[in-house]
């Protein structure tokens, strides 16, 4: 998990510090493991929350819900990632954090992490990196929601999950299948389209031999074509990283 490749386009002079920060955080969090069931709301919007988490296994998400039934999955958290880092700085979380699949997390009280953050630049760099990385992904996602077609968004999502799972060593670096616990309704809430539309695009992908999503399992049959469809929405880092687009995709 301490692979420098995980730190997209980091400044080379920060690499040592980021890797050391990763190691030190692991030591800080060791022994705090908790099992969380799928469906649990870990953090409620509008509340103060005292903990920062690292996802060890499983999936979680940040989600905002409206009273008229509209939900938006804002971010999906995958193994190895820190989340709720804002607990250190803000007295209120504005969105829910929900567990999508049975998960194991580690957690640390924000006071303890803040003490370490102030005392150790490596830990501070690693925490800030998580925010920077989330911002990179959110920028891509905002671009996708504003400018991308439904098909481009879904292709991007399948590639994004693959890349992040590979870089966290949850799956092999060249794996073309992975477990994905999101239902079609949850995919729709992340993609900003309806479940009917998700279903229709998945059918097209399946019929064209590009990818299939069935029973919580993603199988990418033609990564090159999936990359071609996602390409307008991929950022410069993703376009050049084989864990996202494969070796052929880099030259698309």
């Amino acid at each position: 998990m301490a692979d420098p490749l995980r730190f997209a386009h980091h400044r080379p002079e920060l690499e040592r510090s980021l890797l050391d920060g990763e190691r030190k955080l692991r030591e800080l969090l060791q022994g705090s493991e908790q099992e969380l069931p799928a469906g649990k709301t870990l953090i409620r919007s509008g509340t103060d929350h005292e903990f920062v988490y690292r996802l060890i296994s499983g999936w979680a998400c940040r989600v905002r819900a409206l009273s008229d039934g509209r939900d938006q999955l804002i971010l999906v958290f995958l193994p190895g990632e820190l989340f709720a880092v804002k607990s250190m700085f803000m007295s209120c979380h504005f969105d829910n954090v929900r567990v999508l699949a049975d998960s194991v997390v580690q957690r640390i009280h924000q006071h303890d992490l803040h003490r370490a953050f102030v005392a150790d630049a490596d830990i501070a760099n690693r925490c800030i990196w998580q925010v920077v990385e989330e911002e990179r992904r959110l920028h891509s996602w905002v671009f996708g929601l504003g400018q991308g077609s439904a098909e481009e968004r879904l292709a991007l999502l399948l590639i994004d999950f693959r890349g992040r799972l590979a870089l966290s060593d949850t799956i092999g670096r060249d794996a073309l299948t992975y477990r994905m616990p999101l239902t079609q309704a949850q995919l729709a809430d992340h993609l900003g389209i309806t479940p009917v539309h998700v279903n229709r695009i998945l059918k097209t992908f399946r019929e064209n031999g590009i990818a299939s999503v069935r029973d919580g399992e993603v199988a990418i049959m033609n990564l090159e074509e999936l990359t071609r469809r996602a390409y307008p929405l991929l950022d410069a880092y993703e376009r050049k990283t084989p864990e996202y687009v494969g070796l052929k995709g880099q030259s698309s």
Partner: protein, 101 residues
């Protein structure tokens, strides 16, 4: 009369479930048909999105008029999702209405 209907004429849970199922099936079928119309380039995308937006406006005015405001608000939300979703079908060369003169 359905077995599930109450003595006072109110709908019972079985009947409500049936109505909800019809409502859900209807909106899904409608959306699917609209996607087919767009994909086959039969109706311009912007015309369909405009139709959904008209429906949203109608629902929102029902909220203002206090006509089933709670249901109307959720219905407007459902329609907004359908409208946004349809709009996302349109980046791949979907048929759009010709520009005006």
């Amino acid at each position: 009369m359905s077995e599930s209907r109450q003595e006072d004429g109110a709908l019972g849970s079985d009947e409500i479930r049936l109505h909800l199922a019809y409502a859900e099936a209807s909106i899904m079928l409608l959306e699917c048909l609209m996607l087919v119309l767009i994909e086959r380039k039969i109706v311009p995308l912007d015309v369909l999105v405009d139709a959904v937006e008209t429906a949203i406006e109608a629902k929102k005015s029902q909220v203002k008029d206090r006509a089933h405001p709670q249901i109307a608000a959720v219905a407007a939300g459902v329609l907004a999702q359908v409208g946004n979703s349809l709009a996302a079908a349109g980046h791949d060369g979907a048929y759009r209405a010709p520009e005006g003169p």
